[in-house]
């Protein structure tokens, strides 16, 4: 352990602002990328499902004639 207290850890020997800015931006952008990437699959499947429903509706109206 290099730091004696939480305050010292946050202060980072006076460089706290720069260190935490770097780590903050890194984990924020990675988090955003991961969330967007994980959601993508569902979005694609919903789109395909909608398309299938549209096709089925078209088929029904055609067969009703």
């Amino acid at each position: 352990m290099q730091f004696d207290s939480i305050n010292e850890f946050i202060n980072m020997g006076g460089y706290g602002f720069y260190v935490w800015l770097a780590y903050g931006v890194t984990f924020f952008s990675l988090g955003t990328l991961i969330v967007l990437s994980v959601r993508q699959k569902r979005k694609v499947l919903v789109e395909i499902a909608k398309k299938i429903q549209r096709e089925e509706r078209l088929k029904e109206t055609r067969s009703n004639k």
Binding site: Q2, Y18, L21, Y23, V25, T26, K41, L45, I48, K50
Partner: protein, 248 residues
């Protein structure tokens, strides 16, 4: 062997295989980055010259080196897609591009926040920094080219050619600190000789570099799977999946 390899280019098998691999990659990435980051932030010794500001290295170097590695992976996939017309390779390249862009962005930002306290400036138009910025623009170019064609076979070809031509930038980034006089320091980790870094700093750094690599692999698998589904919307197995999971 080629016949065996080819069966994994089949979209359904590629989708399933990447689904099986994903949890392992994700777990490995989370634990490695977790260990490397905590070790680097809390346990690694303070640098005698740079104080604690040097702790940015534990994300800056992994992001920077992996931004180049990811680019090589993307360009290789594009090359395979172009030459052997394997669509799965094109989709893999399309999956990597946004991840590479984010990692390059991280390398640039963490470099800036390290440059400010150490060099006194956020940014200089120096060879290393400028070529890394060009890398970001290459990624953005590949992403927007791929997005701008309705026909994804054509889109992959256009984006793939840009990706392959852009490989020229990789050695420029790598050797920029040796070829031109630069504010940026030359690399600390050396493969052929002993690294100029104590092991208590080197180990967390190496763990994080590998962790970033595995993380890029994991996110690539996630995006690759979505890309497979999006490109195969007419296949029966995708339609079954959409009926099961895509209905709200």
């Amino acid at each position: 062997m080629w016949k065996w390899l080819h069966s994994y280019a089949d979209p359904e098998r590629a989708y399933k295989l990447s689904g099986t691999l994903l949890p392992w990659f994700a777990m490995l990435a989370i634990s490695m980055i977790g260990i490397g980051t905590v070790w680097g932030l809390v346990f690694a010794p303070t640098d005698y010259q740079q104080g604690d500001s040097y702790r940015i290295i534990f994300i800056h170097v992994p992001a920077a080196s992996m931004s180049m590695a990811a680019y090589m992976a993307m360009a290789t996939s594009s090359f395979i897609g172009l030459v052997w017309q394997i669509k799965s390779a094109d989709w893999a390249a399309a999956a990597i591009a946004p991840i590479g862009a984010v990692v390059t962005f991280i390398a640039l930002v963490t470099g800036a926040t390290w440059g400010k306290p150490m060099w006194g400036t956020w940014w200089v138009w120096d060879a290393r920094l400028t070529s890394e910025l060009v890398l970001l623009f290459l990624y953005l170019g590949v992403i927007s080219l791929y997005a701008s064609f309705e026909d994804k076979v054509l889109a992959a070809r256009a984006a793939g050619i840009l990706a392959i031509v852009g490989v020229i930038n990789i050695p420029i980034i790598k050797y920029s600190v040796d070829w031109w006089s630069s504010l940026h320091q030359p690399s600390t980790i050396k493969i052929t000789e002993e690294s100029s870094m104590p092991t208590e700093m080197l180990y967390p750094l190496l763990i994080n570099i590998m962790g970033f690599g595995v993380m890029i692999g994991a996110i690539t698998l996630v995006r690759f799977r979505s890309e497979i589904l999006a490109r195969n919307g007419m296949r029966p197995w995708v339609r079954e999946l959409a009926k099961a999971e895509g209905v709200k």
